[in-house]
Symmetry: C2
Subunit: 118 residues, 2 copies
Amino acid sequence: MPDHLSATFAALSDPTRRAILARLSQGELSVKELSEPFLITAPSITKHLKVLERAGLITRSREAQKRPCRLESAPLREVDTWLDRYRRSWEHRMNRLDEYLGELEAKGERKHARRKKR
Amino acid sequence: MPDHLSATFAALSDPTRRAILARLSQGELSVKELSEPFLITAPSITKHLKVLERAGLITRSREAQKRPCRLESAPLREVDTWLDRYRRSWEHRMNRLDEYLGELEAKGERKHARRKKR
């Protein structure tokens, strides 16, 4: 089984590549359009695009002359699924914290009520 | 602002490190206990633990002699928050696909009804 997740995480470990994905989440863009807001050279953008493409995070159209880049969500959905196990564990911990705080509050209220009675 | 997310994604880009986190999601473990199911040397495990520790994904107790490792969920929650923008976009696309399939089905039913009338 090829290790998709490792390739995805490695591709996401760079802030420029994440910024490229964020821009593509608004719609398809050509390499020229993509390069505009970045203060790096076109060859460097092309390198980043290749890493994203190999990880399956983007595809480039073969038809149009501009070969626009497009975001592919499948690898991100894999990350989302991978997170499930951890999400369950931190939600469980948050629920236990809520319960504990609720108990503390209830105790505080009882104390307050007893003080009022005196 | 230190780039937490890049460090987190880089730490997660290795299958052994993800396996270590999966084991720690069940509870604290010493380095010796952690090493057992892996076919790699203890120094190699220690290297992986250092990467995880630098990314804030695990902490090691300073008190007990065994210095057990413990999973820290904060960086994973950051990844979860980072995914939000993309989750919204793929859910939006899925909803549009559902609508489209619903329309196709409705058309199919109308056609079927017309055919029955004849």
